[in-house]
């Protein structure tokens, strides 16, 4: 049998898992591992400029491809720098394997140089974690880590490896396990037939049905079964921020996003529904508004692979534990035996059309050459024909990108929904490009968020990631300012940078990228086209937009789903 050191076993195990890209940053505790990487050519290592960005890259890679992302970070500060990235992936159920170096076993607990209890620090934000205690266990631990990260409700798994476990002089028999089974972990895949039957009976009897689609519907072939099911029923579909694209946003049955910044028609349809079919969604507080007033007449059917997500916030009348893909497939089969009266939602659709006619996403175009942020997103949509991968950071620009760029494909819209991590967009876009080289990837960001991981412009140069950065520059932390405008009498406490913003064009040029500043509406479309013509270059579009703009609709705090501000002066 082949004899390998711990470091070589780790890299060989990753190869066996089909990994060809790792995002990471070396350091003392990982030097044996980095040497093992150097001595092989199946796995490419992307050297980042900050470990947080490495995790976001792996996360963007995973969300775009459906495959697990892999991160390598050294002990101590390297490990703690990954925390925000891990928490981001945990909240959005993204499969990651994060491998951290640890000080040598005999030093653990002695406050050694660059020692941190990574298992302890990461415990609340991982699906599971492993500390390697015997080098020979490395292949089995890696096998388990990938299995846990990718099965059931996906999530990040941390593997912490003390330096002596990778010592090149200690060699062991290497055989990668073909399969793994764990007595304590057997995620449910198929929904219970009785629950499927109950669900379908309730669905066909509904008069005012809404399909409420979340991020769980982005996985596998779920979107195909979803579209088929929804079209057969002629039911309206509302999507969460994480669900956008799992059902085509330009489809006539799509009501757009629901929730805090959801559309008038999506939130009204939810509030007035008699049956809600929740598909891989978790009734987040950014969706429900005040749970006491949530959809008072609705019977809730809830499909989720994670039993703990069901009836956590809103009690489900018909819970179905199982993967969205499998359950939707079964629901379609169950529907075969039913006669569907396509006319039965006629009145319901008539009502929905009247809500749609409110045209809640229309916005005042502004005077003269002022660029409205919504208009910039529309320009992006036009220039990319609606086909780009779009990543975003967090804030107003994120909501504009969610509302004004209708996504038609799953995995096309990639953002930090649960944790709301500023600094996510650029590294995530790089990860998308790593997963799908040659694709068009736009990072919609703001001048606040982009500065949280702007150092990765350097990584983009090194590995040629031609991200198109669409910076909606309004000189404010826009969403903070919006809340201060609406709830704090316009007192803008620490939400502006005064005059300290960098000249972004010069900044990106110093990294040998292309920068384009746009101040005038007349220049917007031409500049956007020019940006996307430069397919092989990173282009930073510094678009100066109206700082006074707010994101609407916006739910009124503590109200029901349909209590919304529709502009600065109108509310429902």
């Amino acid at each position: 049998m082949e004899q390998l050191s711990g470091g070589d076993m780790l890299i060989r195990s990753l190869q066996e898992e089909g990994v060809n890209l790792i995002f990471g940053y070396p350091g003392g505790a990982l030097l044996h591992v980095y040497d093992a990487i150097f001595r092989q050519d199946k796995i490419q290592h992307i050297l980042v400029r900050h470990e947080q960005a490495a995790v976001h890259m792996a996360d963007g890679f995973a969300r775009a491809s459906g495959k697990p992302g892999v991160v390598l970070a050294t002990s101590g500060p390297g490990a703690t720098n990954t925390i925000t990235g891990i928490a981001t992936a945990y909240m959005d159920s993204v499969p990651l394997v994060v491998i951290t170096g640890q000080v040598a076993s005999h030093l653990i607990g002695e406050d050694a140089f660059q020692e941190t209890d990574m298992i302890g620090v990461s415990r609340p934000i991982v699906k599971h974690s492993f500390m390697v205690r015997h080098a020979k266990d490395i292949p089995l631990i890696i096998k388990k880590a990938f299995y846990i990260a990718t099965s059931g409700r996906p999530g990040p798994v941390v593997v912490d490896i003390p330096k002596d476990m990778t010592n090149p002089t200690d060699k062991f028999d290497f055989e990668y396990p073909k399969s793994v089974s764990m007595r304590s972990y057997n995620p449910v895949v198929d929904g219970h037939p009785l629950q499927i039957k109950k669900a379908i009976d309730t669905i066909v009897a509904a008069k005012k049905l809404v399909i409420y689609v979340g991020g769980g519907a982005q996985h596998g072939q779920a979107h195909i079964h979803l579209k088929k099911f929804v079209e057969r029923l002629n039911a309206p579909v509302a999507m969460t921020l994480m669900g956008l694209g799992a059902f085509p946003c330009t489809h006539p049955q799509a009501l757009g996003m629901l929730g805090m910044h959801g559309t008038y028609e999506a939130n009204f349809a939810m509030h007035n529904s008699d049956v809600i079919l929740a598909v891989g969604a978790r009734f987040d507080d950014r969706v429900t508004n005040n749970v006491k007033h949530f959809c008072p007449d609705a019977t809730i059917i809830h499909i989720d692979v994670d039993p703990a997500s069901i009836s956590k916030i809103i009690s489900a009348h018909i819970p179905i534990v199982g993967s969205v893909e499998s359950v939707l497939k079964d629901l379609n089969s169950a529907l075969d035996k039913k006669t569907i009266d396509r006319e039965r939602f006629k009145t319901w659709w008539k009502q929905i059309e009247s809500w749609r006619n409110r045209r809640c996403l229309d916005y005042p175009k502004g005077e003269g050459q002022i660029i409205k942020p919504q208009r910039a997103i529309e320009s992006l949509y036009r220039a990319t024909k609606g086909e780009a991968f779009v990543t975003s950071d967090v804030g107003q620009h994120q909501m504009f990108a969610a509302l004004y760029y209708p996504y038609d494909k799953p995995r096309q819209w990639i953002n930090s929904g649960g944790l709301g991590t500023m600094g996510y967009g650029l590294p995530a876009a790089m990860g998308v490009l790593a997963a799908a080289p040659g694709s068009v990837v736009a990072c919609v960001t703001g001048e606040g968020s982009i500065q949280m991981n702007i150092q990765e412009l350097s990584t983009c140069l090194q590995y040629n990631f031609p991200v198109k950065i669409i910076n909606l520059n309004n000189h404010y932390l826009g969403m903070v300012k919006q809340w201060q405008d609406m709830q704090y009498g316009g007192r803008h406490s620490s939400s502006s940078y005064e005059d300290s913003l960098p000249d972004f064009v010069k900044l990106v040029e110093s990294y040998h990228h292309v920068g384009i500043r746009v101040d005038r509406l007349d220049d917007l479309d031409a500049a956007m086209d020019e940006c996307f013509r430069m397919t092989n270059r990173l282009v930073f579009m510094d678009i100066h937009v109206d700082p006074s703009e707010h994101v609407y609709p916006m739910q009124v705090r503590d109200g029901n789903m349909a209590d919304m501000w529709l502009s600065k002066t109108e509310r429902t």
């Binding site: 302890g120 415990r123 500390m131 764990m182 007595r183 304590s184 039993p307 703990a308 009836s311 009690s315």
Partner: protein, 172 residues
């Protein structure tokens, strides 16, 4: 409502901290927690007493089940069960107090396990209420030190919480 949750847990380093962390992270209440290895050295058995609404208890059991290290669990309070707690208590016992305390210990079927001219060390086993009642009978003023093990529990009858399949299984 007070609940007793029994958990079979992988006997792995860090497993305990995952359970304890879950309770603090999700703002659940822990009243007592006991844990020790079982006859199968790869498994630990944990008993947690907690309280909360039915909704909270449902979440606790679901979230515990979600932990990879949790193999099986059961809410013992869903059926008839036996619960026991061990208490070691030092009680001031001087002069005439000594006889009275000895009588109380006998009534509660406790044992005096250490004797000192001014105090007794008493061992008592029973339900939480019984141990509370003992302290109350003796009078808090005489109690010098109390150590309690926390509750250990087991289902009555044929139900077992173990890896081995059995005819009447406790919900897992």
């Amino acid at each position: 409502m007070r609940r007793i949750i029994s958990v079979l847990l992988e006997n792995e380093a860090g497993a305990l901290s995952r359970v304890v962390g879950l309770f603090s992270q999700r703002n659940y209440n822990i009243e007592t927690l006991t844990v020790a290895p079982t006859e199968d050295p790869t498994l630990s058995r944990m008993t947690i007493t907690t309280s909360g609404s039915n909704h909270v208890i449902e979440q606790i059991t679901k979230q515990l089940n979600k932990l990879i290290d949790v193999v099986k669990l059961a809410d013992l309070t869903e059926g008839t069960h036996i619960e026991r707690e061990l208490m070691l208590v030092k009680i001031r016992a001087v002069d005439s107090e000594r006889a009275e305390i000895k009588r109380t210990v006998d009534i509660f079927r406790g044992q005096i396990v250490d004797v000192h001219p001014q105090m007794y060390t008493i061992q008592l086993v029973g339900t939480t209420e019984k141990l509370d009642a003992f302290i109350e009978s003796v009078g808090a003023a005489l109690v010098l030190e109390v150590v309690r093990s926390g509750v250990s529990g087991i289902a009555r009858g044929a139900r077992t919480l173990s890896l081995v399949p059995n005819p009447v299984r406790v919900s897992s």
